[in-house]
Point group: C2
Chain length 475, copies 2
């Protein structure tokens, strides 16, 4: 039985067995109080160890980080912070931990724990984060399954570049600097494993569209990659993305799906992770106090989550957003670092103004200038904009990017030619417009940004088990 | 509303709208019968199109592969094979498909459809396969979630080699043949994206163990990679693997978990995919008839599935398996291609004999010679074997490979030294044995092999949307 279940039992002096890792030990050899955690819950169970029952020799081996099994009676507890505790009758030491165990019971910085990512699961903060990550992940599958979507496993290794502009990781079985050459002295990719130049995918969207053009409703949930040299709190080289794609959906349906989806998974976390969220809420508020007045959040973590599920997202066009920005104080007072005018790619400072100052809630921006968006987005009748949408979140920025897709073969080919995108490489994508094309829409949600928002963790490296960033590939 | 839902309605001449792709069209322009499918179900809905209501001009555009919307009344049907059909009042053509559409209503070979993997979702066979794949995938998450496991997203790009011997794909941002060199003339990996030599993971197990040593019960479900030049019906270069890892589980617990898991997900498919399985069962039986007598399955697909969930798996040690093989007819009559003796890595022919001839059911083989297994497996007291387990399935071979893990730091280090595995690279793995080590076990299930077994598809390339094999990376 796991500690989560044991803590929910009625104490009736029943025999139980607790297995887990020692968090703290207080008292003397005559009477010790040992708190044990097995990761099933944020709560520890207290084992009371009487020197008359547990040999001193064994007791000495009980220290922070050690792995133990305790057999004994479950009784009501007054002092442990829980309703129950266990009176130890037998103690087994699975594994000791000496004082070099890095996660001693004191405050560790997140940076320090990142260096110990293999052990940080044993802290309250990180075990809470990864339990919530699981709850969100499960809610993702539930949401789509309940609505008749099929999970499609799109390929990771690819010969195409979905975004038309991504910085991609190369995949090869060539020895470095020993690739065979053609007669012309070029690298002979025909000799490589796939007989082609290949990379890690930046998105499963194009393949997802192939699925939606037959199964109607699909979603992907897999790793995607960016070889960008970004050392920020919001970027990873390897991250997980959820990409639904739906036949017959237009941009409005797409916005509705995105909003319903985000609310559903946040609601699932609130319902299923109360104790973990309460812990992270306290953490969030404590951290908030250490910040300069101007950067402090007005709300607690739980208030922020409630706010999202209880309010409609603002929905405005890019053009309206530019008007708001042009009329804004920071623009008039020249406080924005980057200029504002129709056609710009909105900068983080602009998005933050819209979301955090103007609307004070999530905002869905639509109908961006076609020049700053991907080739596959549906061209609007104005000839200038495309049916794109970005969902912007306070503190996070872009959580979702999506669009209605261009279903007209002619328009798609024209746009590809304008953007110098090779048709030959995407013959299969174009085929879906040639044979039974249909209106369809989809989006991509960066899963780690969602986990960041829900857990209140400031750095994206702290919400994925083993983050990959420039220069970091340990574990 | 999707066709699956419409087909379940009571026909009351209510107005409905059907959207989907045309499978067939019969009749004349005066009265046509058009079957439409949207991928939500294996069943088509029939639309009856009266020339007096639907303009001939439009009707001409209705052909196999076209995408249409039909508005009209839902009525009882006598002839369509379904309970209901729709009397069309309005027809919208979203996308035409001329006769060059490759998936015309006739029999196509699986090989042909593999070349058209972007369109094969529109066939009955492949839409059934991918709906079942989804159902299995969802059941995987359900199974572990219900049992208190946490889904852990282990890294895809890695600097370590989990199996100690895998053929791995290299990941790099170096231009081919243009990697910078150190002063010694070696490739200077410090200049690469991660400042290390990196590859695609062959398994999430080692990182999964890190999670289990704190959260107790975790599972992974992600892509894994093998750069092996295997052109078989059972191998892919990119495939999805499910890897649970459980603290405090021994080998027997591990076997119980594996058996319960497989039965659960197969049962879920039987319950939730009846129509798709019935279709694939017929397909399986038809294909079976075309095979030579000796290769024919004695059972239908559904019988095979029922058999697995209703019977205990056989459980024997490797040593017992060798004894059975040595006493077998094919061995005595020298029909095995490969020799049988204690210490060999069992060949496919040996596994098939055990599973298909001797036990006639799934077999769990345990306690393999340590020489043929990975460094991390728990060393048995006999000094010769390790606490490994393979689950072998009829027609599939190895479905699962797993083990109890060696939890003793000393034994693990000794074995690593014997096998010349670099300790330095795995310092974080060894740390889990240094600080609070615990008995623990886990296994990996190749998801595509499971889908193969459940769908009865003979080639693994037909159960993953876009297969990656040597020389194949299209789509």
């Amino acid at each position: 039985m796991q500690i989560k279940e044991i803590l929910a039992l009625n104490p009736e002096e029943q025999q139980i067995e607790v297995k887990g890792w020692v968090r703290t030990k207080r008292g003397q050899s005559a009477l010790s109080f040992v708190s044990i955690n097995d990761g099933s819950t944020i709560n520890n169970i207290q084992a009371v160890m009487d020197g008359e029952k547990i040999p001193e020799e064994l007791m000495k081996k009980v220290s922070c980080g050690a792995c133990v099994a305790v057999k004994g009676k479950l009784v009501a507890s007054a002092g442990s912070g829980q309703n129950v505790e266990v009176l130890a009758e037998e103690l087994i030491i699975y594994g000791e931990a000496d004082e070099s165990f890095p996660i001693q019971p004191k405050k560790h910085s997140l940076e320090f724990l990142r260096e110990k990512a293999h052990l940080r699961f044993r802290t309250s903060t990180f075990s809470a984060v990864f339990r919530i990550r699981h709850a969100l992940s499960y809610a993702v599958h539930q949401f789509y399954h309940e609505r008749g979507f099929f999970n499609l496993h799109t390929p990771i290794i690819t010969a195409s570049d979905a975004e038309g502009a991504g910085e991609m990781f190369r995949v090869s079985t060539f020895e470095p600097n020993k690739a065979p050459l053609t007669e012309d002295g070029e690298v002979d990719f025909k000799e490589d494993f796939f007989a082609r130049e290949t990379s890690l995918t930046v998105s499963g969207q194009l393949e997802g569209e192939l699925g939606a053009m037959a199964l109607s409703k699909i979603y992907t949930f897999g790793p995607t990659f960016r070889a960008e040299n970004s050392n920020t709190t919001r970027h990873l080289a390897e991250f997980w993305m959820i990409e639904p794609e739906v036949a017959f959906n237009d941009l409005k349906d797409n916005m509705n799906l995105a909003e319903e989806f985000i609310k559903y998974v946040i609601n699932a976390a609130i319902k299923n992770c109360q104790e973990d969220l309460a812990f992270l809420d306290t953490r969030f508020q404590n951290e908030n106090k250490t910040k300069p007045q101007l950067e402090r959040s007005e709300h607690t973590l739980l208030e922020k989550l409630d706010f999202v599920i209880e309010n409609d997202f603002a929905r405005i066009t890019y053009t309206e957003a530019i008007d708001i920005l042009l009329a804004s104080k920071p623009h008039k007072k020249k406080k924005f670092k980057f200029p504002v005018e129709w056609g710009i790619d909105l900068q983080s400072e602009h998005e933050r103004y819209l979301v955090e100052k103007h609307f004070k809630k999530p905002v869905i921006l639509t109908d961006y200038p076609k020049e700053i968006k991907a080739f596959y987005m549906k061209q609007n009748d104005d000839g200038k904009t495309v049916a794109a949408m970005d969902v912007l979140f306070p503190g996070i920025g872009e959580m979702i990017g999506g669009s209605q897709r261009e279903e007209s073969l002619t328009k798609l080919k024209t746009r590809m030619a304008e953007m110098e995108i090779d048709e030959e490489n995407l013959w299969w994508y174009l085929d879906t417009r040639k044979f039974g094309t249909a209106p369809h829409s989809g989006f991509g949600l960066g899963f780690e940004r969602l986990v960041q928002f829900v857990t209140g963790m400031g750095n994206i490296r702290d919400v994925i088990p083993f983050p990959r960033t420039p220069g970091n590939v340990e574990f």
